[in-house]
Symmetry: C2
């Protein structure tokens, strides 16, 4: 079934039509590896786009990964590295000698080199800089002077600028002489003598307007632009909201520094999304799913250790009521229910609020309204499930007092869960920590402690 | 601090420079609402981009939301509706009379109208269709004949096509006469007499090549194109991987149907990301954070009900050992630890595997390798924390046999958790269910049941 006819534009040698629904490159590479012929692997890799090679590498365990990496064309290594998650990239970079690294970097654009540098040693960086011409070195410097997660760190420096007093005819002639436009050039930037951005000339307008007109007459004067220090998340939000393809980056004097393009923004959005999914489980967004066992175990152990401490706290709360449980063992049977329901209800509120904070839908202006709403939802669901568990408990254990303690504890814990689900992420964020990482652990500790304490405490009151 | 100088291109009236770091439109609207002057609200809204108005509406509770909606310019209502999460959109559409809906739709492009239609009544749809001219009606039909989550459902129909035997000069003259290009036109499509796609002419090449040359001589022959039935997720992955701005959609005979642009793809990526975050907590990706309390309670109750059933299953397992707990109450104190640690470790594995499946890094080709790896990680971390809890238990409760049962149960549960974390999502996916939704509930049921059974079972063996 050719319901997905994907062919490649970039290089003719890569342009084989793919007939399968989803070509499983990994399977092919694994089969080639089994033949023991490095040339067979190399042959497959030459047909693949760098992004596809990265995908294959990511799906391989450490040992075959190294074998396959050795078969990647050195000219394309740089592009493949850029497409890999950081953890995998760092591993492969360690395997390359300095010469190979310099060669791989040399095949890249300056802004892409900047993305690779954090993984490289000082000597290699020096060599790479040495191999660049003066203009490229200056460009690289410009990008490197900003943090990775800012507009400045995200920008390319390959902008095309024009002056406002020339005609479109002149612009067209200039472009034709230039011979090529940087990728994703949907507008040229109009700057004054001091390189200050005064407007933008959309390429579409250049094509549809009579050539005798002046740039100043047809350019857009109101350009969405970004300060170099603007956080990448805000850049992504603006691109998304205003459907941008490219936008200029300026310094505090409105002087043009570079240009952000939508392909880099898509990567930011994807990374942000990965973080939102992975962080609540104590994982980083560039998890290497096939990393060596010991490394993965060590990374995960930290998270499990934190959770063990919170488990001991909850356990200590249960310990307070050991004597009650000795007398009424059925309490031990029912106690996981209250704690568990609190955890689930709280996690729902938490998930909604954490996303709301990240997307800016929840802010100071409406946090109190959200809190009130979640409180009501918690109370309503608490009542509903209190009645349900009471009926089940009476039917199962024929114990009215346990049922009463259980249902009261359910209401208390679901209300606490709802309030915690709003308050915890807001506080965590105020302390400058990503709410997605820390909120979940704190929340389940609260719902465990409150759940156990309320249920066993009430049971102690009623039954002893 | 003007570190984020955002100004708007689209309309001059919207183009006010914003001096704050992040303009809090919601705060301003809330303040205006308090004055009780509808005109004050309207004034703020006229300054805002439709996407910003949508953002404000999303952050408001039902009652003020309706009040603010009443102040949105009817010409812009369509665009605002498009930017809202489905749940909010459906609510607001219900408030509009047929005439207003037809007017709002009329201000939109045909492909955007298609996105609105699912929320509209048959009569309104008929009226909207009636108000369109023949060409637009045909365009709308073309988009509507494909499911929303396919390339066909995602496409616009505003393509510009050229023939390969004409010169660039002719193309340029045609574009100038046309007067305007559709948004995100980075390439024109080259088609033959039967509308079959034979190539693409990048706008950049049109600008940089001598005008006497023929289209056939300068066009790209290998175009990344999508079958109309290709899933939107695959379209998004291809856009991301190959850095596309636009791509043609074709039918099974390679005939051009329309064009997908990067702004719509960004929305697909964002939606997918929302789903990945929300689904594990039993939430939908277009959660309305300020929906009425009763509606939210009802939606969440279903999820809590499912979790309650699983909690009763775990509780029943504990019930099997009620007599043991009667004799050794400290077991009740320690039992949440084993279950909790299993849940945490399993969730880590699960999160990594679910993402791996979604991104295609985990596939049939390497599922067994991933399983083996996670098994080893589970065993290693099981051993580590078994020793730790044994030491703590001896120090705290001075009971060697409980410590032994606890540590053995820890190893067993962490190994089970690791295996479940891989097997459950793979099986769930095979059954055609989104692994992100159902896997978590099943996993924690397994880790609770195994954790309680192993710990209390071993303790019963050792202690009674």
């Amino acid at each position: 079934m050719a319901d997905y006819t994907l062919r490649l534009t970039r290089t003719v040698s890569m342009a084989r039509p793919r007939k399968q629904k989803k070509p499983d490159h990994l399977k092919r590479v694994l089969a080639a590896l089994e033949t023991g012929e490095p040339a067979a692997v190399r042959q497959i890799l030459t047909e693949l786009h760098p992004a596809d090679i990265a995908h294959v590498l990511e799906g391989l365990p450490p040992e075959p990964r190294v074998k396959v990496w050795a078969q990647v064309d050195i000219q394309r290594m740089g592009e493949v590295l850029l497409e890999l998650p950081e953890a995998v990239r760092a591993d492969l970079v360690k395997l390359m000698d300095d010469q190979a690294l310099v060669a791989a970097a040399h095949a890249l654009d300056t802004d892409d080199i900047a993305d690779l540098l954090p993984d490289l040693s000082d000597e290699v960086i020096a060599e790479i800089l040495f191999a660049l011409d003066k203009q490229d070195r200056q460009r690289l410097d410009a990008v490197l002077s900003y943090a990775e997660d800012t507009a400045g760190g995200l920008m390319n420096v390959d902008t095309i600028t024009v002056r406002e007093n020339i005609t479109l005819e002149v612009v067209l002639r200039y472009l034709r002489r230039r011979g090529e436009l940087p990728e994703h050039t949907n507008q040229l930037f109009v700057v004054d003598r001091s390189d200050r951005v005064v407007g933008a000339l959309p390429v579409a307008r250049l094509l549809t307007t009579e050539a005798y007109r002046r740039v100043s007459a047809v350019m857009e004067r109101d350009v969405i632009k970004f300060a170099a220090l603007a956080p990448d998340k805000e850049v992504a939000a603006a691109f998304e909201r205003y459907n941008l393809v490219s936008a200029p980056v300026v310094d505090e004097n409105n002087r043009l520094l570079g240009r952000i393009t939508v392909d880099d923004v898509v990567d930011v959005i994807r990374e942000e999304a990965e973080r939102a999914v992975m962080a609540p489980a104590g994982l980083s967004e560039d998890e290497d799913i096939l990393a060596p066992v010991v490394r993965t175990s060590r990374k995960r152990a930290i998270w499990l250790g934190i959770n063990l401490v919170t488990a001991f706290i909850a356990s200590a709360v249960v310990g307070l009521f050991e004597h009650t449980i000795e007398k009424v063992a059925v309490l031990a049977v029912m106690m996981p229910i209250v704690a568990g329901m609190g955890g689930n209800a709280g996690t729902q509120t938490l998930t909604v609020v954490v996303r709301g904070l990240a997307l800016g839908v929840v802010s100071e202006a409406n946090a109190r309204t959200v809190l009130m709403k979640e409180f009501m939802v918690g109370a309503l669901n608490g009542l509903l499930w209190a009645v349900t568990v009471a009926i089940v408990t009476v039917a199962w254990h024929h114990n009215y007092l346990v049922a009463l303690a259980l249902s009261l504890a359910m209401v208390i814990n679901l209300v606490f869960a709802a309030l915690s689900g709003v308050i915890i992420p807001v506080l965590v964020r105020k302390m400058g920590v990503d709410p997605a990482v820390a909120s979940g652990v704190i929340l389940t500790t609260v719902t465990d402690v409150v759940g156990f304490f309320a249920f066993l405490g009430l049971a102690t009151l009623f039954l002893t």
